[in-house]
Symmetry: C2
Subunit: 338 residues, 2 copies
């Protein structure tokens, strides 16, 4: 959920949901960087669009008189945006795509600005189309009566619209399949409780909220048929997604429950293996507190990795905008070519 | 941590830790029932002692002139205590043990009262001794340099003293083994963050706090050698413990990490199978809120089972006060005889 409006980026403040619906109006690269860092703007596909729009903000508000000066400002803007979070590849991809467009532009300053803004808008438009395509492709995997467990939020909020994992759920629901969703709350930042439960409840799709540690229990009771999650980066041998995804994948594997990953190709980074990807370590206070409420003893040592890597052996299929890759197709990922 | 003092039961209010150290002075069965229901008093072994002391409170403050009248009051007290929580067997065991003592007493009213109080104190004293024995028995499984993951709180707070799972950790530490602990925060009620982290930090045993969904991640990174948890009920085919224990057990199994259960024999209920045990479903607000802070949309559907069952196939050993039962010994559990 993101829009360009006359030199400003309009998007919900995802840290305030579900209790408050606050709309951000982001006008500078610095504001965009802060919003990305603090997860006001989050979700791999949304970060791709936000990254593009971040550079577009620099272009739109630039006072540069020469192309060289403008290009230098755009490069700086790109660097600022990229350093906010290390794991989701879409952030780098979005910045690089608009910068490449800018570098290849042989137009005037004003035309270059317009080209950058247009490219950023194109990223956003494509993401919306891709999510619809992911939804359509993935919904063939969903049967009437299925109960689907999801982790974190790969919904409308995490994307430009419709969602990836929740896009598949939405598409199946729109096709008339009577499905139910179980949402992991997703500590520490509770994107499942705050965002997934909010989106699905608002749209009338049946959702039940559980704490993360109930996933094994609901699977052991036969209450889950399928798992669908999003992805922050797909590499040759693994899928990076929100911390806890790996635990869910192992549990699904143990219970013979299909584990599906919904990811646009902008999330693919098949030049790398899992061991080469930096996992963002976030502020310990996210673990010792819930919101501003302290829950752990003062000064206790904490680990707070924001993501984990799920080896492809635990993944049943990856659904992207062009097709479904089943485990039999994963050899191509290992070779870096799909 | 519980004491009888002149007709009152003295114990910490575990819902207030770690931010406040509040001591409860419980003087009536109704106060004890409320403390058990709301988890001010929690932990299977502690519940055994609290149950005994609860009946002792009824005895101590009774104005009954006849043995029959007194016995009726004690039976009522036992019924009130037992109905507070359905899963931890020690609650039933503690009540039944003092009531049996009372029923078999042929003394005067005053002597009967004294016998009940004495039996309750005996339960508490035995628990303290048993935990030391569990610690000593279990510490042979722990090597210098081990990092041990634990879930929920099976420590001093959950018992009369020393702890079961944390008793083993304490014993290994006291023997000079340089060990570290990783504590799952244990949503929804955060006993790991609030109580385990508090106890271990206070005692100088190195502890790192994680959210529950990081357990798979830390195992995949080779950061955990062993898992030790407590138990609320051991049946013929499974161990009941805090929700999330089953997920940890499956993850440990997948990573070839030993999964140990520390449990006094008062926790054993070998007349039953897992399918026959009721799992307590608690208030949805525990999941939609953290403390008084709401984190999920208003009115969202929730599951909140307080416990899960871990089949014995995932358990490497059960450590009790008399010995260690390894998986090769579990046939005896299935026959209901150990």
């Amino acid at each position: 959920m993101i829009q360009w409006r006359n030199g400003a980026v309009i998007t919900p403040d995802q840290t305030k949901l579900p209790l408050q619906e606050v709309t951000l109006e982001i006008k500078t690269v610095e504001q965009m960087a802060e919003a990305i860092k603090t997860l006001r703007v989050r979700g791999a596909p949304l970060l791709g669009a936000a990254a593009g729009f971040g550079v577009a903000l620099a272009a739109y508000h630039s006072k540069a008189k020469t192309k060289e000066k403008l290009m230098a400002e755009l490069e700086t803007a790109g660097t600022i945006i990229k350093r906010q979070r290390p794991t989701a590849v879409n952030l780098f991809w979005g910045v690089d795509r608009v910068l490449k467009k800018a570098r290849n532009s042989s137009e005037s300053v004003e035309e270059l600005k317009a080209a950058v803004i247009e490219e950023a808008q194109k990223i956003a438009d494509e993401d919306a189309q891709q999510n619809r395509a992911i939804g359509k492709n993935g919904s063939v995997l969903i049967k009437d009566g299925d109960t689907i467990l999801t982790h974190c939020n790969a919904g409308e909020l995490a994307t430009v619209e419709y969602g990836t994992a929740l896009g598949i759920i939405r598409a199946a629901w729109e096709e008339g399949k009577k499905i139910k969703v179980i949402a992991d709350e997703t500590r520490p930042l509770l994107q499942g409780a705050r965002l997934t439960a909010y989106e699905l409840k608002r749209d009338g799709i049946p959702v039940t909220l559980i704490t993360d540690n109930m996933a094994g229990y609901v699977m052991s009771k036969g209450l889950v048929n399928k798992v669908i999650v999003g992805a922050d980066r797909v590499v040759q041998d693994a899928v990076f997604n929100k911390i806890g995804t790996y635990s869910v994948a192992v549990l699904a594997h143990e219970h013979n429950i299909p584990f599906y990953v919904a990811a646009p190709k902008s999330t693919f980074d098949l030049t790398r293996k899992a061991a080469e990807v930096e996992i963002e370590e976030r502020n310990p206070q996210e673990v010792t507190h819930v919101g501003c409420q302290q829950t752990a003893p003062e000064g206790v040592k904490v680990m707070n990795p924001a993501f984990d890597a799920t080896p492809l052996k635990y993944v049943s299929a990856i659904i992207c905008e062009s097709r479904i890759y089943y485990s039999r197709d994963f050899g191509a990922f290992r070779k870096g070519k799909v």
